[in-house]
Point group: C2
Chain length 297, copies 2
Amino acid sequence: MQRRDFFKLSAMAGLAAALTPAARAFTIPDPAQKAVLKISAQEGVVPGNNLKEKFDFMEANGIVGFEPGGGGLGGRVEELKKAMEGRKIKVSAICAGFKGVPMSKDKAIREEAVESIKEIMTAAGALGSTGVIAVPAFNNQNGLENKEGREVMVKDVLPRLGEHAVKVGTRLILEPLNRGEAFFLRQVADAASICRDVNHPGVALMGDFWHMTWEETSDFAAFVAGAKWLWHVHIASRKQRRMPGEDGEADNYVDGFRGLKAIGYQQYISFECGSTGPREKTIPAACDLIREQWAQA
Amino acid sequence: MQRRDFFKLSAMAGLAAALTPAARAFTIPDPAQKAVLKISAQEGVVPGNNLKEKFDFMEANGIVGFEPGGGGLGGRVEELKKAMEGRKIKVSAICAGFKGVPMSKDKAIREEAVESIKEIMTAAGALGSTGVIAVPAFNNQNGLENKEGREVMVKDVLPRLGEHAVKVGTRLILEPLNRGEAFFLRQVADAASICRDVNHPGVALMGDFWHMTWEETSDFAAFVAGAKWLWHVHIASRKQRRMPGEDGEADNYVDGFRGLKAIGYQQYISFECGSTGPREKTIPAACDLIREQWAQA
């Protein structure tokens, strides 16, 4: 009986020890589904002279998402489809590449953007892409002032883009940038507020850790605010926009990853960054860092 | 021994049952200190013909914070101090009441605001108030455009106000409003970004559940983004800005309270709202609702 008592006490102590951290930490409701980690990379980031070489490298490093630019995408659909055949790689988001400015002061330039984005969306839909990334207006693009710009985006530009997106099976992904690049839209929570107001299944948003470094006080809170509209994430080192890890201790994404886990994020985290290189080493190291910090989150 | 075994097994089962929900829910790090619930009310909200009657009512209902307006506060310091003697009531924040417009296009009107707010701050400090609430510019106040306005606030107006605030023992509390009242500052995360940039111990922010209803996609995320700068909260019903509970099911603050608990909030939640009355009944009912939802959060 002494031995049995000992085991029971050990079991109790073990149970208490195992559960104490969880019981002591602050709890919030579980997401509807468990988040998944899917690493993606922009086309220009991946080493290789052609798609085959790039995809081989990606597969060897567990990178499952491919983010091409939107420029000329319509003419690349078949090439990309063929290159992905039999691979574990899918197209994640499409990075901009359109003509015009969605939030320009000039209506004709806004319309040019709408038509150009629609064209890219059609190709994006054919490729099964999660969405086309767009910035309403960069600081140097003669955009509308914030208040009027928001109204034009919410009431006119975004619903029309969303409509086409849904028709071709993809979506528009609004990207907040840092103030140095685009003052209008700087925070994920603001993009979320826009998406809520637009209230269209074809209009979503993303977060970019690079810009978030300067604009968000909490990566965790930013992603939780983005929640159901958060459809893409960009990642880079946090001082020089290189590969995660190249800025040492600054490259901490745990708080943000915790936010992604809290909302049950199902989409991609995609490299948009340079590298001091060689990329054959810095990219696998960045993937390891992301996986480690994801596990910690 | 059987009896002892039974108790041990019960203890184990009880421990497992007690800890399972926590272990299953999503966990985030504990705040540095446990949040406290301190209910406050604006002077005009509390029934009573004088401070004695108002304070008696507040104490009877466990309302521990008193939020007067800033207009003429300097002349009321002694009266307020005397009325609070021997009471459990403290002055929470001071609600605006200043002249001028901090983010006016007109520098003279900005300076008028700075001087007026400083004067109120001096009285606020004498009363031990947590801070003076200010809106940079209402929509109809001829404020600077967003980009220039932010720069003027961050680089000029706010540091000077913060400096005086610290000198007299209080702080400035920036209040985001809904877009119908003030487009410039609508989200708690944006106010937090401003506070981070100003980086002055005398400059803080608040959240108002009324405005947050229209501008935030997540009350929880908003407060987490506000974190260490969050120094006051206003509360009202979520459809008509009356006493919490007067709009029925819409008056849910649990997600926001969870955010306050997540950051270990130590400051006041203050009634800024009307009531269909009678207030002698709607205020105690609102206090009960807040306490219940706080416990749920």
